[in-house]
Amino acid sequence: MSTDEPVAAPEKAAPEKAAPEKRAEKPGDSFMAQFTHNLWSANTVTVTVLSIVLAMVIGAILIIVSDSEVLKTFSYITARPSDALNASWNVVSAAYADLFKGAIFDPAAVSAWFDGSGTWQQAFTPISETLTYAAPLVFTGLSVALAFRGGLFNIGGQGQAVIGTITAAVAGFTFGLPVVLNLIVALLAGLIGGAVWGFIPGILKARAGAHEVIVTIMLNYVGLLFLGWLILQDGIQDPNRTDAISKSVAKSAQLPSFGGELRVNLGIVVAVLVTAAVAWLLNKSAFGFELRAVGANPLAARTAGISVGKTYTLLMVVAGGLAGLGGATQVLGTAYALTPAVAGNIGFDGLLVALLGRNRPWGTLLAAILFGALRAGGNRMQSFSGISLELVTVLQALIVIFIAAPALVKTIFHLRAARSARLGASMAKGW
């Protein structure tokens, strides 16, 4: 796409000729000028970054308002404004510093590693936590993003992930296969479980016209309640426990990790590989072409001979399989046993991750890592700064709201519409 190209092309030149001329004609503009121009034009990256900034600003206000000590200083702000400002700055900077230290790296731990008083594991713990939380979200995010590109709104990531945890865990403690094989079988079981759960809304949509949003929402309940029932059954429930928890998956079926404080496991590697696979599927495969065509204009796709029903069904199978893999990563990577809340909220968070990642595979991966970082940092913020973990949820929600309302962000920051895109359109039209 030519949206990032310099734009001072002669408008009346034949469009075919214009493209090469454009590049040659712009030596005068410095790199920095172009850089700032692109930065302040309303492209999606800018809007995304600014959305995160805005969310942090509002988050800061919430931190100040929820701290009674700081609020007291505001009661005499006219007498001594420095008190209020200092107190606000201290509480906010401490909170965000903890968020950063918990998510990326903690300078104290790193220096401890260098002077020998700490271990390298401690220095890498924050990033490990971030990636641990991110891995399942990558899968559920990809599930939603892929379905969306095919014109389907997969709200059922949660249910598909839950079924994925069940099949992966059951395979993980039942078969007792040799080392590598056991893990592969358990992951595949999770994939297939999710795929089956995705197939149901897919085939119902293709054959009976049932709306996938309704069906997937209902299947979320079915999946969750099935899990609640299943873990209390003989052969599934841990025989040594009376509460709702299943047997643990065999060691050989667990996703290998560094051990100790570094919980990060093979799941994130699988997630990156799967992201690459989804990117290939979407852009380079025949099925990806079909699903994009069906997603953008099902009537034209049908007229061109693409079977819309088949595409919908297959798409939901793949999307379900991805979410199922997310569930499998959760249970084989960190939880190791089924509990009623084993899948947490990964399915629904996947919706937000896909939205934040603009339904693009690599964007979804980055968004999942950001959400993982917020979650990991939030844990530290809660224990060190005493700020509730819920603030992180609020931050996530605010980011998504700003992303969903790009016009709002553009207005606040006075962004110009991306001029090059506009020009390209008008040039091609006025032949």
């Binding site: 493209a19 380079k284 495969s285 025949a286 204009n297 001979g305 693409i306 390209g424 039209k429 006025g430």
Partner: protein, 509 residues
């Protein structure tokens, strides 16, 4: 830049035609006049007074009304509700209840004063297109406008409805209203306009009188000499390629649309199907393509029955198809030109296989066809939505003609397409005939059918009334299109559905 220093003056009581190709800047100009866009330079004077329109509300207040190409009506509201929308009469202050009776009375009053029959209680979604357009006009007139802008009003109308609209325009002009009539159809301009302003690439190229010959108007529009006649040699029909026998098809509502059609198209000839839109042509073609299931009858191509085959199999068996609604069925607007060019061949060599695509081959194929079919685009990677209508249609035609074909079916091949592209597309269709392909053209524009076809089948109410030669007088074909056969009596409408007949009648009331 869509408008480059345009000057235009509209006198009271005048029908001023704004003629130009798609994308010439006609609509942009009028959107400024209606307050939807703001000019960067220049000014708008109404009755000698300078005005600034920030929104359509300002324009309406200054006495300017507009009927858009795509109607701005709420389908589930009644005619009276739609007309009241935005200027509701209420009792008991702005939050009071609607004064429906007064709305109804206003509608009836305007509709009788200007001879625009509308039923205030009908639901808009149940009205034929021509009647919906009358609603739009009445809506503009109830706002007391002096200048009415009609943006491509005839693009969606049948020939009869067009005639009626022209009559309405004449009576409005006679009543002192000014009308700006945006179009790219030369015949209509000559029939109605008092003055013609031709716009090309955002500039006024000429202001001429309606006596100017069509050829001259066309060359002014396009910027070069164009031939309005399709040039072709006599056909040399060969074997029977497409044989349709006893075909019966229902439409989406379960109403009989095609009612026992027998048709033969030979290799090396163009069979044109003439008929007013909605007489079963769409369903007939969709049945051939496997997009709609026939209830009875057979569709054979070289003695191979197509009934029951999937659309993909049918296309692969050597049938090219240009659907009648380009933006709905023809192209995926978000896709690039290159992707649209392989929309039905993406999984076949050289463009790919059942598993993966071959981007290099797709790009190379696109480059060749952009050149070969003269598709005006900044790059094959541009989204098709950035192209003009004519160039989008060329993408569809290029795609369908890039396979080796036995049968080529084109439905409304030049609807919403500019003069220059029409000439090109017609040339390609005749070329396809000359290399021995059987060609079926469906069009509601009689000129197009007469120009292209070697034989004309006139379709009315789901049946083929007659097959005539293109030399047949226009009046005779026109009568057949209205369902009047040689015996003088209208043909009986098929079954209990009087849909198309109804629409035609409603149109003339």
């Amino acid at each position: 830049m869509a408008n480059d220093h345009i000057d235009i003056t509209v006198e009271p009581g005048e029908v001023h035609a704004l003629l130009g190709e798609n994308g010439a800047g006609k609509s942009t100009l009028m959107n400024q006049l209606y307050g939807l866009l703001q000019p960067d330079e220049g000014e708008i004077l109404v009755d000698g007074e300078k005005k600034v329109f920030r929104s359509p509300r300002d324009a309406i207040a200054a006495g300017i009304g507009m009927v858009h190409q795509h109607f701005m009506l709420v389908p589930v509201f009644t005619v009276a509700e739609n007309i009241a929308l935005g200027a509701e009469e209420t009792r008991g202050g702005p939050l009071g209840w609607l004064d429906r009776r007064r709305n109804r009375r206003d509608v009836l009053e305007v509709s009788t004063r200007y001879g625009l029959p509308v039923d205030p209680d009908a639901l808009v979604e149940n009205l034929p297109v021509g009647a919906q357009q009358r609603v739009e006009i009445v809506k503009a007139l109830t706002r007391d406008v002096d200048l009415l802008i009609l943006d491509e009003p005839t693009a969606v109308l049948t020939p009869q409805e067009t005639e009626e609209l022209l009559a309405v325009m004449r009576s409005l002009a006679a009543g002192g209203k000014s009308i700006v009539f945006i179009t790219h159809k030369l015949k209509e301009v000559k029939a109605i306009a008092d003055r013609i302003t031709v716009i090309r690439r955002g500039r006024t190229v000429a202001s001429v009188s309606p006596e100017t010959p069509e050829e001259e108007l066309a060359s002014l529009m396009v910027g070069r000499a164009v031939s309005l006649e399709v040039e072709k040699t006599p056909a040399e029909p060969g074997r029977e390629v497409l044989k349709i026998a006893g075909l019966v098809v229902d439409d989406d509502r379960g109403v009989r649309a095609v009612d026992g059609v027998d048709l033969v198209v030979r290799a090396g000839e163009v069979l044109g199907i003439a008929g007013v839109q909605g007489n079963g042509q769409t369903e007939l073609v969709e049945a051939v393509l496997g997009l709609r299931e026939p209830l009875a009858g057979s569709i054979k191509v070289d003695n191979e029955d197509l009934v029951g085959m999937s659309t993909k199999q049918i296309l692969r068996s050597g049938i090219g198809y240009v659907p009648e609604d380009r933006s709905l069925d023809g192209v995926v607007k978000e896709f690039s030109v290159a992707e649209n060019l392989v929309l039905d061949t993406y999984d076949r060599p050289p463009y790919g296989n059942a598993f993966r695509l071959n981007p290099a081959a797709i790009a190379e194929g696109a480059r060749q066809r952009v050149e070969q079919f003269d598709i005006r685009t900044s790059s094959p990677e541009s989204a098709v939505s950035t192209l003009s209508g004519g160039n989008q249609q060329k993408v569809v035609v290029a795609r369908e003609m890039s396979r080796s074909l036995r049968l080529f079916i084109a439905a409304q091949p030049t609807r919403g397409v500019d003069v220059g592209s029409i000439e090109f597309i017609h040339g390609r269709i005749i070329h396809e005939r000359d290399v021995g392909t059987a060609v079926l053209v469906v069009s509601s524009e009689l000129d197009e059918v007469v120009g292209l076809a070697d034989r004309i089948a006139v379709m009315y109410s789901g049946r083929i009334l007659a097959i005539v030669s293109p030399d047949t007088p226009r009046e005779e074909i026109g009568l057949l299109m209205a369902g009047i056969t040689g015996s003088g009596a209208p043909a009986a409408p098929a079954g209990d559905d009087a849909g198309p007949a109804d629409e035609a009648e409603e149109g003339t009331k």
